[in-house]
Point group: D2
Chain length 297, copies 4
């Protein structure tokens, strides 16, 4: 199968279950909302080493938000409900409540259950907090130094999908990187998904465990390393490929992740020098979801 | 005391000891370095609720970095050496190693000791890692999907200063915010310091403990809340003040923090509508450093 | 009339006819498209002194553009058809053709006529240019150093509206500025409009002619200057107003400009410290359009 | 000659005389200064088709500016003194005076003469303008809607150098582009120079005149077009080169331009996949300056 002359390998991405939340951060301006959204979603690429997987889903213009101000929807994800509760509380409490002019609303549809994050945060008001209703939502108003911080009382969480992915192989490192950036731009328009790695792009792929160092849970996937293609016997890097980047996607459900993979791959294939698109899996035994690349189109 | 017509209160900022690291992140372009630096320093406003305090210190142009590429120096701080070791490993491993085209070098002068972060990360190479020397530094080269990731073997840490601070009180919320942004811009030029809160600005101040909710370690500082100035008896908000923002500074030493406070306050006082500059302390009994505002000028 | 406690003055904005074009600039990534769009729309605040009025209308994600790449729609406007033809040719030729990875498509609906900008630019190919069809459009492919530049053959122009406007009066300069930025964010979501001034905001208002210097066509509108409110007898600045910014809007038609004014005013009124919204007119004798503020809501 | 394995061709860049100005734009924040600087330098890539060549030289932190606020130094250039006078007046008057919170100061050393731009602009104040002294400079204070706009009375101009340049040839379009961006980042640190094209990068090269269309002054340089390398007999594109970008530099003098070329080339050569660096000239008969690449190192 080819798209725009680029080979789409007949393989599948193996994805996993994860609990997801979706939070709308509004502020006086788009820029101020972005600052808070960025702080709250940082240090959140993969739960292998970060306390959460997190990213910015989409921008929402003023006329579509509950308080008529510009906002960004962020997603914060963790396999454990207890950990997700903790991360929501701290990332909102430390990264958004502390940011100028912000307010926070639940933005998840079809939640499985609700966590009372806003209820917990209201105690920071030390008795001066108040309860409001905005847009039919129960809101806590907490006085802070610069004004009042508004937060919805409860935030939905649901079973979503983590680790949707594809690999972009280019004739140069820069070709693969430019295509990866194009893919991230395309995925940004797919609601209900985030690309949690830095700038949305993964520069390093890993395998489970390690051949040489038995104390490691994960190590570099040497078969996918371009600088090892002449050294590793069973390399998966074609001779004319000199750069590989991966896109990893978390989403509210499998459909959103599939849509993101589709749009991302199409966009990557518009960049000159892309040789092949592949995907990462563990033989299909670890993850709950197997997304075949050829079925996307 | 007045600067540009703004009252500088005769008070002091109370600051604390913290262990600091200073890490140079380079990449193919300034933009790519910024992406990695931002991811690695996110979710890092205050160790009250975040796993570290972290921020971007300064930009370093290509001709001044060990590998001739543009870079940003970030600071990652934690009161505990063990926690700082963990945070350096994970923030670099998950937020920078995974980011396109990056390399990482130690950028701390006068360290108290070294942590072998690069040595630990090299095992990710699963035996394919190599050792290099760049600019007289011992470097590990770790093959990853997109190329080779370079990291210095050891990173210095030292006893620094956290919680340098001042309050900006304005005739409107927006005046105080604009002045806070001006202050952050000024502090950005003071090497060896970061302003770890979102966009460098703190919208919420807290006091130790809570009057009403005994289970809380910290709660809103009601005496500094503008919307409570007519409700709280012993408010510290002057009648004509309608917005307050705080700047919090972490630095490699007291001198750097003092310089940052001085430049930040001067910049804040250039903005029309600023009424008063104050600072936060706990009576002087908690922190190791007492920085009097009047002594800065 | 009040919105969110802010007085909406019973006055009208006086707007003018102008010829508008609407051009889609795509590139390999969103960022690269933004660079070209910014260069091509610079030095374009007002035809009082600039060769065109120009700005970025909106972002278009990859799946909605003719070439499947991210893009920005820009608008370039001039009262004279001949001048608009010149500006389109030069701003595209010097600012977009010269920018990495770009392509250019017509994005105007209901045009009055077409200008053959792409046809003219193709001669730059010196005989090596080719003709293609993309998405049913006639496209010229021009070989340039870095690859092939694609441009649609013809670009529509139509009679649009320039100078839709409103004034935002705040209790401080910073309040008015923050509200102006909020207004610009809201207007950005109204398709078919641009705010051509720097960052979308006008810091200076002018009146026709000058009282003191007869050789001037335009001079400061002293009645609207906050620093002159105690000096100019017939000032229009209320006592409690210390900052005024204006938003100026160009649009494809009156309806788009009205929608932009409405959303912009609503957004401005969400910011604390805004006292009053007004609008600029010349008594109704100069412009073809009179847009009453009260009629917008 | 090779740098980091990249061939540096034994050729020279041919550069031209141009009159340059250097203007410091300060504002309340770095971001606001950037907005004004960007507007005033837009539509300014080359005087072949733009009314000026213009760009941002460098950022100046608050403690180093005359008014203690953050600022950007921009350069505006034109071969004709009369045109430069016009461009300074309009780009400052329409793009900076109209931008929120700005002030403008002369930032040129060793000027040949002064243009009274500030003196001319003061008449906009219609008699309400005042004269101040700041940092030993003669300043006009002009009341505008949002406050007072400050501008230095006179701005220096001098004979500078335009069209310093080099070509970056990469194994892919993306490699060349990434290296071009790296070069622009490096040149940004060389004071007294700008890269006036979009994002600092030129995607299209031109030759004087046209072979096929006699009415053209300039047309595509087919010998340097990668997509024509198999079609044009005397192509200068090596077989393994698939992308070429040019960097064009304007500077206050030849020394600054040479330094920019040197740092830019060194930075470009850090990017994997760069094959060769060349430069553009017209045989040495047109321009006043011949800068040999090999002499730079």
């Amino acid at each position: 199968m080819e798209i725009n002359g680029v080979e789409i390998e007949d393989t599948f991405a193996e994805a996993f279950g994860i609990k997801v939340s979706r939070v709308l951060v509004t502020a006086a301006t788009k820029k101020l909302a972005k600052i808070a959204a960025t702080e709250a979603t940082g240090y959140g690429t993969s739960v292998i080493g970060c306390p959460a997987e997190a990213g910015i889903d989409c921008y929402v213009p003023p006329e579509e938000t509950p308080d008529g101000r510009p906002g960004y929807i962020i997603m914060i994800c963790n396999p454990s409900k207890k950990s997700l509760d903790h991360e929501l509380l701290e990332r909102i409490g430390m990264g958004i409540l502390t940011a100028p002019t912000t307010a926070v609303f639940d933005a998840l549809d079809d939640e499985d259950e609700k966590l009372n994050i806003g209820f917990k945060l209201k105690f920071f008001g030390d008795g001066y907090e108040k309860e409001l209703e905005i847009d039919g939502r129960k809101i806590h108003s907490i006085p802070i130094m610069s004004g009042d911080f508004l937060i919805e009382s409860e935030f939905g969480i649901k079973d979503g999908v983590a680790g949707g992915n594809f690999f972009i192989m280019g004739d140069s490192q820069a070709s693969a990187l430019l295509a990866a950036q194009a893919a991230v731009d395309a995925i940004a328009a797919v609601e209900g998904t985030v690309t949690p790695f830095p700038g949305g792009v993964v520069a390093s792929g890993s395998k489970v465990g390690s051949n040489k160092y038995k104390f490691l849970n994960a190590s570099t996937n040497e078969k996918m390393c371009v600088t090892l293609k002449d050294e590793v016997e069973d390399t998966q890097i074609p001779e004319n490929v000199n750069g590989v980047y991966e896109i990893v996607i978390d989403g509210v459900d499998e459909e959103a992740v599939r849509e993101a993979m589709k749009e991302g791959i199409k966009a990557a294939c518009t960049v000159p020098g892309i040789i092949k698109i592949s995907a990462g899996n563990y033989g299909g035994n670890l993850g709950a979801y197997k997304i075949k690349l050829h079925d996307l189109f």
